[in-house]
Symmetry: C2
Subunit: 329 residues, 2 copies
């Protein structure tokens, strides 16, 4: 690997001049610049980011903490972040916290130790204190905070919408799956749905699904139909759980959507391939990722955003686990 010294020697100048030429700082004579550019090209010189980072105390790396890379919602978020960051020359270190606090802390430590220039966290842990004294900017993704900029979808409206659509399509004994207690967004969805169901004066039961992971989803689904065999409408906490519910409903021979309507949350790519294709509340995951990246970049560029909160709209995606709306023409 060629170093800046090699370039300097080849171009017949000092390393300082090479550095200035590369970073467009200070004065460099036109002719000198040409010599340097040529030397760089010939040696195929690429500056050592580590050395740079040591002096500057910041790298070009961005930390991204995801709670569970296996839930397709998060890769989608990650793509949004990645694409936007790419445009600005930043790279991602993705840390998969696996919904465990110690793993999350491990990654934060790694990020610090590697001089990341900023951090985006979609962690699901309730405890946020470890984010208080960071030396680099932070954006929270898929969750809110009073102390940090954040990006999330309008969970409350999403819950409301899910309930409204289910009611207007004729479900009368609804089961509401409540996501993990520590997960803000899940709680907001829940609140939205509850409010709407109260308003509409529809009977509903509540069951808590304490995780979003695949291997648990099946279990929740079974429990759901044991506890509430007569339910005719399920508002799932996310699409993974909805898929499990749908699967279990088939197993029990229920007709969907005639006997049972199901509505999910997220709209992951797979939902369209379920049978029947899953009606769901869409979160614009990719966009959320991009917005989070934008917020972080603004902070990196020196703006202080305090607790700026960006909330993106959700949308009902009508597929076929819900019935056609009864028109009152």
């Amino acid at each position: 690997m060629a170093t800046i010294k090699d370039v300097a020697k080849k171009a017949g100048v000092s390393v300082a001049t090479v550095s200035r030429a590369m970073n467009d700082k200070g004065y460099v004579h036109e002719n000198t610049r040409k010599l340097i550019d040529e030397a760089i090209r010939e040696l195929n010189y690429k500056p050592n980011e580590v050395a740079r980072s040591l002096y500057n105390k910041k790298s070009r790396l961005i930390g991204l903490i995801l709670p569970d890379i296996r839930n397709p919602f998060f890769p989608e978020l990650a793509r949004g972040v990645e694409d936007k960051m790419q445009e600005h020359g930043f790279r991602l270190i993705i840390g998969n916290a696996d919904e465990q606090l110690d793993k999350e802390l491990d990654y934060i430590e790694t990020f610090k130790q590697n001089n990341v220039i900023g951090l985006i966290s979609a962690s699901t842990n309730a405890v946020l204190t470890h984010y208080e004294k960071l030396s680099f900017p932070l954006v929270l993704l898929d969750r809110t905070s009073d102390h940090h900029p954040s990006v999330q979808a309008d969970g409350y409206e999403g819950g409301r919408l899910a309930a409204k659509e289910l009611v207007s399509r004729g479900s009368t004994r609804i089961t509401l799956l409540k996501g993990p207690v520590e997960l803000q967004t899940a709680q907001e969805r829940f609140k939205g749905a509850v409010d709407e169901l109260f308003n509409a004066n529809v009977h509903f039961d509540v069951m808590t699904t304490a995780s979003f992971a695949f291997h648990n989803a099946e279990y929740w689904a079974k429990e759901l139909f044991e506890k509430y065999p007569d339910t005719d409408g399920v508002i799932a906490s996310n699409d993974v759980v909805a898929a499990a519910v749908l699967h279990e409903a088939h197993r029990l021979g229920k007709k969907i959507p005639e006997q049972l309507q199901i509505i999910g949350f997220d709209d992951i790519p797979f939902s369209q391939f379920l049978y029947p294709p899953l009606s769901t509340i869409r979160q614009p995951a990719y966009e959320m990722g991009r917005e989070a990246a934008k917020l972080l970049i603004r902070q990196i560029n020196g703006e202080t955003l305090e607790a700026k909160r960006i909330q993106l709209p959700v949308q009902f995606i009508e597929r076929q686990t819900t019935r056609k709306e009864e028109r009152n023409d």
Copy 2:
């Protein structure tokens, strides 16, 4: 952030001694060690990885290149790699190449510039020349090479198995979906299936699916049934494509598995939730990730493995897109 100097000052020794104490190199007096440990604890000192990496010319970071983080097969691989690496104190930089060569090259450059200590690549690009002159060890994942250690599933056997199961369950007009030409593993599966079908003397057609991504899968599915409306057995190139085929089959009102059998490849978590649950050839993705990590770690520890190749077995997962086998009792 406390530095090694602060620790040295607090413990009343030189930085060299602190460094020796931390890395267990050279002699350090028992009492001195205690002083240092205490200073470290009190200052909550964590060594700066960047400085370390600059001197050592290697960090604790591992590069991982994935072709498409949205295809659930790859997060599963990534988890395997991550978990194993975690056990050894290494961290991952995940690069999503998006099936584009230039993005892949970008990431390789980033990895070099950040002194990664090793690289695992599950890239789909046929061109491997850019892996020739790396200064750190490499493991290829989900693909083979004559020049580098690699880990993959037994694609040939997988293809054979898929064909065999479909035939023995009564399909007579099989359509074989052939994955992207540049993708070795896809080609091996294809070859395995072709050989088996020839052997069994069963009629089959071939259609090429030039990508594995979600947004294309639907298109391939439609094309499939336009070209071969009478097919009664589909061997899909992976589970994502299989899901799309299943979806399209439903749309066309085909009875599954009575009229049409479908068999996928990968066994991603979602496959069990499809309707009917998808029969598929399982690749042990998580294990593959772990094995790749192991191979890399062995190289990092100084073993030279040349082109060691690890091939993991695949397995037919019988669910309900295939019929019960006709017993010849």
